[in-house]
Symmetry: C2
Subunit: 183 residues, 2 copies
């Protein structure tokens, strides 16, 4: 079993893919970017880095002050396996983290598969909610309960629309920027 990695762990692996950094530099990224759902406090990042190091997914190289961490081959493997998996099960914020990291992977077909499975999942949720609201229980619910369900429905609809639009924009982008026919 290839060493379990936590969501925060994947976030760190993803940030280390391109550029090796120190723990402090990683914290700064969490502070200053949209990764702010995670705390940038030392109590989060340093223990996570230690765990990744113990699992041999990252390696520490001491520098003048502190250490610089970089991905090991195993670490890159673990990250790629995570990025390549179908877009299901995980909460939306984690999926968006994956989507952002997919860019650096530079493999359009993987991003495409991600968006397609994401859209499929959203369509499934949407249809489930619609069926529920059209079935026996839905219409008999009081207004405010129906509205609470409608909240969920509007969210998945927005996510589906996002995925379809994102796919369209990326297809355009890919066909413009890499018009060669094959491998």
């Amino acid at each position: 079993m290839p060493a379990k990695v936590t969501p925060l762990g994947y976030a760190l692996l993803g940030l280390l893919r391109g550029e090796p950094r120190s723990g402090y530099a990683l914290r700064k990224v969490f502070e200053t970017t949209l990764l702010g759902n995670y705390s940038s406090s030392p109590g989060s990042i340093y223990p996570a880095l230690k765990g990744l190091e113990k699992a041999e997914l990252i390696a520490a190289e001491p520098i003048a002050r502190g250490n610089v961490f970089s991905l090991t081959p195993m670490g890159r493997e673990a990250l790629d396996a995570w990025l390549t998996a179908p877009a299901q099960g995980e909460p939306a914020d984690i999926l968006m983290l994956r989507f952002a990291f997919l860019q650096e992977l530079g493999r359009p077909e993987v991003t495409r598969a991600f968006l397609i499975s994401f859209a499929d999942a959203a369509r499934g949720s949407r249809d489930g909610i619609r069926a529920f609201m059209a079935g026996d229980i839905g219409p008999s619910m009081p207004l405010q309960s129906r509205l609470a369900v409608d909240f969920g429905l509007r969210n998945v609809e927005a996510q589906l629309a996002w995925a379809e639009n994102a796919l369209k924009q990326l297809e355009d982008h890919w066909s413009q920027n890499a018009p060669q026919t094959g491998g």
Copy 2:
């Protein structure tokens, strides 16, 4: 300080407002309704109930088999304080839990205030994201990062639209079902 209550605790208080129930009955509610974000396993509910009992927010009355829990006056106070607070800070799923429980509270002005503050918060998020995307950093970001931000934008837009629509529907409902002029 009036005894801290966890999100799961509030969910239990809300369910017990109308109807006293046993721990097992509460678990069944979690299993069969849209409260499924919480686990219905005994390891979740029973310890939470014990905590609420120790805080004197609920009271247990033994029946033939097991116990039936009901809100104490303090428990009702704590629940009402939570329901009445402005719709900010908490994650969306918790806010929807509150919105659903607001129905049983039967105080339209509180539900109205909730939706208005919810919409205000959504508008604030939306404007923040739009400003970010129109500023220095936004346009310089690579396409896929911009799309990740667009995901967040579309979500808050959907939530804002939901709140505005919900308010409209409820105002209609209230004016039809309770057309008397005052207290």
